[in-house]
Each structure stands twice: as structure tokens, then as C-alpha cells.
Subunit: 419 residues, 2 copies
């Protein structure tokens, strides 16, 4: 259904548009801002004037503006987001620890704070308070006033229920249904949201290249499990309950090998690190515990063995690729994306799986569909997850908080060091 529209909506939307345009297309003169947004110069003057008064954006002093060329006519005064307008925080949760990244309104980040934390052992109710405590401590250390942090975004591998604000299930935890949003909001009084790793990578990709990824793209995250972020019509889709899709637990073969989730034959049970390791080990006749996290060093060893000609190891990767290929074929049959992106640490072994993935696609997918899908692997860096989380968080501020222009949304603060 449509929604009621009024002049309030118009201003909100256009304010949001101006903020987003400045965020993604750098400092811009009012005239360029007008061209980019389609708004008239008069409107731009009005909107930017307000935003300046509110301290959300500011002009760049001509002395500081390096890119100023000497041209005829009145020189442009370029506008840019005011870094000091607010702060945000991105939290990434990994198997071995948690990373806090503080950033200002312009998106400039402080040095990441890496916390060692035995996530696998921590209890359901200790996690949130523990993180809240760390945030308080490190914000203080960095000279960031808590009140200046307007929003926190959390990313985690596994099933994040963004409505309940919980980690329903994650390979990083033994506990389930771990509340995150509620304790952080209660203890810190800062709005907070939680999302899935793969979705955050998808956010980062959209921001990197909207033309390329902005249509319909499937982002497959390979790591201690297999995750999926779906971009549908330019927007990250996150199922009912805000839960991300559970691509890793899509069944491949009825009654296949045991998966972490307790079912048999899930895609993950073949293609995640532990699936690959098990296939390599089984044939050597050893036992295997699917729940034990696999150290990266062991995976690397296995990769080297496969590359060195160890056929047992190689076959494990080939099989992982085959199953992943069929999973992707099914995904394509369902969603018909324009592009499939592989990301995450598991892509390091892509060279070992490439052929079997391709072969599985050939066997499992109508030619008609296959030919319309572009394939790519993005090199893995944890920063993509952080970047995506920050972007998502800042967009929320741009669109839903600052766009409204209500007083009291903005907290001026000082004592911040330049990031």
C-alpha cells in the first residue's frame, strides 16, 4: 500500500538525499550537489543552510580546499559532512574475539580495537554486558564521549535476528539466542542494531560500486560456515524476523554427512572449513567433532597439501566446490541474480574449487540462466564487514535520524581527537 505524503516527507527525503550524496560523492559545491540530486540551486541553499546550522555539514575553507582550480567566475565553496557531528561504532564478532571500530560522522575510523574473548565459552547473558563494559572503557581511552555515539551496529557470522536483536545461532558461540541489542541499549543508552556478516559485506559492495552490485546480487560468505547476503533491487534483503538467509543449511543431499545444525546433508557440512577438514580426515580414518572451531593455520596447511598434490586433500576441496556449485545453482534457479560474489576467508582456496564449482553449475543449471549470471570472487579483508556495518549505521542516521531535522537529535561534544 502507498503511504500518506506531505511536505514533511518532502523535506525529510530531500535532506536525506543531500546527506547521502555528500557521503558518497565526497565534498561537493552546492551547484554540483544540485546537479547530482536534481534539486534546484534555491532548494540546495535552503537545505544546506539548515544542515549547516544544525552542525551536520560545513563548508571547506578555500585555503584548505586542495582541489580548487583557478577558473573564471565565483569560486565554489564545497560542502562536506561535519566529522564532529556525531560518532558511531561498528562491532564485529569473530570466533576468537571482538573488534570495535569507532568512527565519526564522515566515516573516518579510529584504529580498530581488537579484543580477545573466548566467545565460544561465554554464557548467553554475560556477552552483552561484557561488550558494553569494553565499549565504555575503550571509548574513554580514545577520548570519545559515550553521549556522542549515536548508534551502534553489530555484525556476526551466523543467524542474527535483527528484530529481537539477538544472535540466534552463530559458529562463534556455544550459547544460543544471545541478547545483544537490549543490554547495549540498556547499559549504554545508545540505539543499536545487529545484522549478519554477509549482509554487511553486501552493504559494503553496494557502496563500492552501485552499478555493479546494486541490482540483484548474491554474496556468499565462506568461513567457519557458509552465509549469504542477498541484494534485491539494490537493497539488502534480510528475511522475515530480519534473519538473514541460511544458505549454509540449505540441504544438498538427503541424509548426507552430519552438519553442525544437527541435520544431515547441509551445504555447510561439505563446503565450510569443518566440512572440508572432515572429508580430508575421514579418509585418513580419524574421528571428527563438527563443533570444534578450526584454526586458520590448519586450513592453510590443508590448502598447501592440496596444492602440493595430496589427492585426499585435493578431493576434499573439489567435493566442497561441487556441493557449493550445486548450492549456487539452486540459488540462481530461485532468485535469478545478475551477479554472484564469493567472499570470506574460505575464498583463499577458490583456486582449488573453481573447476568443480563450474562443473556443478553446468550440471545443475539451465544454460539460459547460467549465461546471465556474472561470477566473481572478492579478496577477503575483515574491513569489508566493518565498512559495511559503518555504512549501514551511517545511512540510518542520514535517512531516519538527521533527515527529520528534529531538535535534540544532535549532541555537540568536544575532546575528540581527529581520526
Amino acid at each position: 500500500m502507498l503511504k500518506k505524503a506531505n511536505s514533511d516527507l518532502v523535506r525529510r527525503q530531500n535532506r536525506g538525499l543531500v546527506l547521502e550524496t555528500l557521503r558518497h560523492h565526497g565534498p561537493l559545491a552546492r551547484i554540483s550537489l544540485g546537479h547530482q540530486t536534481g534539486l534546484s540551486p534555491a532548494s540546495i541553499t535552503s537545505i544546506s543552510g539548515q544542515l549547516i546550522d544544525e552542525g551536520l555539514i560545513h563548508t571547506i575553507a578555500e585555503d584548505d580546499d586542495v582541489s580548487a582550480e583557478t577558473k573564471r567566475g565565483r569560486p565554489q565553496t564545497r560542502l562536506t559532512l561535519n566529522p564532529g557531528a556525531t560518532n558511531v561504532l561498528a562491532i564485529s564478532i569473530y570466533v576468537d574475539g571482538v573488534e570495535l571500530v569507532f568512527a565519526d560522522f564522515s566515516g573516518a575510523t579510529h584504529e580498530p580495537v581488537k579484543l580477545r574473548l573466548d566467545t565460544y565459552a561465554i554464557s548467553k547473558d554475560d556477552f552483552g554486558p561484557r561488550i558494553a563494559h569494553e565499549i565504555r572503557a575503550h571509548a574513554k581511552k580514545l577520548g570519545i564521549a559515550l553521549a556522542s555515539i549515536k548508534r551502534i551496529g553489530v555484525a556476526v557470522q551466523g543467524v542474527a535476528d535483527s528484530i529481537k536483536g539477538e544472535i540466534s545461532w552463530s559458529p562463534a558461540f556455544r550459547a544460543r539466542d544471545i541478547p545483544v541489542v537490549e543490554p547495549l541499549q540498556r547499559l549504554l543508552d545508545i540505539p543499536c542494531s545487529i545484522a549478519n556478516n554477509a549482509n554487511m559485506i553486501a552493504e559494503a559492495l553496494i557502496a563500492t560500486d552501485r552499478k555493479r552490485y546494486g541490482g540483484t546480487t548474491a554474496v556468499i560468505f565462506m568461513g567457519h560456515g557458509i552465509g549469504l547476503g542477498l541484494i534485491l533491487d539494490g537493497t539488502v534483503y534480510s528475511g522475515t524476523n530480519g534473519r538473514a538467509a541460511e544458505f549454509g543449511h540449505m540441504n544438498h543431499i538427503p541424509d548426507g554427512p552430519l552438519c553442525r545444525c544437527g541435520r544431515h546433508g547441509c551445504l555447510e557440512a561439505f563446503s565450510a572449513d569443518y566440512g572440508i577438514m572432515r572429508m580430508a580426515n575421514d579418509r585418513r580414518g580419524t574421528d571428527f567433532d563438527v563443533h570444534a572451531p578450526i584454526p586458520d593455520s590448519e586450513m592453510r596447511e590443508l590448502e598447501l597439501a592440496a596444492e602440493g598434490g595430496d589427492t585426499v586433500a585435493l578431493n576434499a576441496f573439489l567435493r566442497a566446490g561441487e556441493v557449493l556449485g550445486f548450492g549456487i545453482a539452486r540459488l540462481i534457479a530461485l532468485i535469478n541474480p545478475q551477479r554472484v560474489v564469493l567472499a570470506g576467508p574460505g575464498t583463499r582456496a577458490y583456486g582449488l574449487m573453481k573447476d568443480s564449482i563450474g562443473e556443478a553449475l553446468r550440471r545443475g543449471l539451465v544454460h539460459d540462466l547460467r549465461k546471465n549470471v556474472e561470477f566473481e570472487v572478492v579478496p577477503y579483508g575483515k574491513d569489508m564487514i566493518t565498512t559495511g556495518t559503518l555504512l549501514e549505521t551511517l545511512r540510518h542516521l542520514d535517512r531516519d535520524v538527521f533527515a527529520s531535522g528534529q531538535k535534540g537529535m544532535l549532541v555537540e561534544f568536544s575532546g575528540r581527537k581527529s581520526a
Copy 2:
């Protein structure tokens, strides 16, 4: 990205809102329209006044208004869509023929026109012109001026490319890439769009019960193939290129039985009518041509045999259910819908497949996900497809054509008989 907003957008959106509200909540007095839409009485007066002037809606004469209760105060004058404002046409394509349903702006339909047509034999380039000819003839017969038809919606089972306006592939045709939109627009000068059967059923479901189906729902169409319509966040999703999802050609088992598409092991190859018939026949040792359409009578016979205790027939249905169940499990793992709806003629045999579907879901899906999905079968009637197509077509008029309020959008006409 956000889009520029201005007062034009506001009026367009609110006009559309008023039209949609009247369409779905029957005749309404201005005051109720205000409550429903959230718009002020003053705005409603203004907007409805314009719409009346344009002939899109009109007041109901108090004599005709049956529901008028005698209350204190100025009596309400209720508003309703003006049926005579325009006409639309919904076309459904089946294996054995084509159905034309003419309707007026209020959605009231004329008697369906059923055309026998050997779709399976017709050539790629003959289909469009043939249909155009039939439309012209039957519109005349019904006393509907061609110029009064403002839009045509076409629904077909199979892969409909709504961008190109072609039937990429359909079990109803031997030909491929059959142009539909272009010839109709060229020969009749009426805007036209084409979509997939299952998507149109999804549209009908949303309109029936927005609360129930308006979130995230997967509609599975079972017939001469297996189709899928996805409702994501209340809107029907239709992949890249506007192509619907190809659930039927999602691989079930690598190297399984031959499918119509030429691959092996697609879901359809087990669970569509021809898959079931083949399983029943193979065991009797006869040959089988996957491309031959299966008459409904033969399917009914097989169903009766299965119900009567014929184990070969029964096993075919059980196996079809099992594979369908795994397909649904995979679908749920990917999309995490709140609701899965089975529709189409194939659901007649649901009783035979029910247990094996459930068993497959149990084996192929994490409990966590399974418990959050509601399941239902809707009784099949072809009218759902027609209804959905009409609704989709009329919504397009409400939102994108008449909402703009441009002159010349509306063609007054006469000679129409009441539907």
C-alpha cells in the same frame, strides 16, 4: 539511494493512495477516507474533487446507497470508483487455450472469453497477432471500444520475461522467446505487460488478505510444471529481467531423471505432472516423452489409482512429495518466508503427498526455521490467476497512470454494457 521529492510527488502519492483505498475498501465517505488514509478532510475534499472532475470516481446517489443508516448529522455521501472510467483486459494462457477477461475500472468483469488454441503448435511470431485479432473481435462483440482499454495484463505458466515482454519458455508452447507485449502494443495500441502465473496468484493472495500474505510468502504453483511466486515484504518479487524464479528447475539430485529443460534432476522432473506420470509408468516398463503435455484426465486417473491402493501410483506421488518437500526446505533455508502456499491443479493430489512432504521437511530443514513457517494449500481455481492479473493491472493504473493526474490519460467512451 533516495529520490528527489517535491509537491508533485506528494499529490501523486496521495491521489494513488485515495484510489487504492477506494479500490480495496469499497465505497467510502470522505470522512472515512480521511481516517483510512490519514489525510485531513480538507485534503480529501481537494483530491476527491479533482478525481471526480476527471471522471475517475463518483459519488453514490443517496437513493442508491443501501447501507445508509439514519443517524444524526449531515449524511455521508459515499465515493466509489467510476466503473466507466476505463477498461482493462486480463489474458491467461493455458496449454489448451487462452482466456480473455475484460473488466471495468472498478474491477467488475465480463464473462470470460475462452478461446481454444493449439498453443503447443503455434509459431513464435503467429501468437501475438493471433491474440490481438481475437481481442479486437471479442471487444467488438462485447461492445467495448478498443480505445477504452487502457492496459492489458498477460499471465502465463513458465518463464515470462517482463522486461522484454516475451514468453522465454513455457510448457504451453513448443516455441521459445515468443513476443507478446510488442505485437499487442503495435497492433492494438494498448500498453501491455506480461508476468508469470504464480506471481499473479501471489498478487491475488495479497489482495485477499494483506495481513496473512503481505509479509514474506512463497507461492508454489503446481501444474504442468512447478512455478514460484515470491512475496517479499509485501511486494511480489520478480527477479532480474523481470523473470520469475524458476523453482521447478532447481536441482534436486545431481544426475537425476531427465527434465524438460534438458538438465537432469530438476525438482520438476520428479514433482510436476509429467514427472509423476513417468515414475508411475517407468515401473510399468513403458517409454516416456517428457515434452508431451499430460491431459488432466490421465492425472486424475492416476490419482484415483493411488487412492485406490495401487502402490506403484502411490509411490510416484510419495516420491513427488518428498522431492517437493526438499525443494521447499531449500527455499525456506534461502528466503526464510513466514508462509508457504501451495496452489494450482497439482494440489488436488496434495492428500497423497502430504506425509512425504512433511517428512522431507523434517529431514531437510533445521527445526528452528521449520517452526516459524506456516503452511497452507489454497483450493485451485483459474480465477485466482485472472483476479491477480486484473489487480496488478488496475494497481498500475491507480499508481502510475491516474495518480499523475495528467490530462489525456482518460478516454471517455460510451456503448459499454454494465458488467
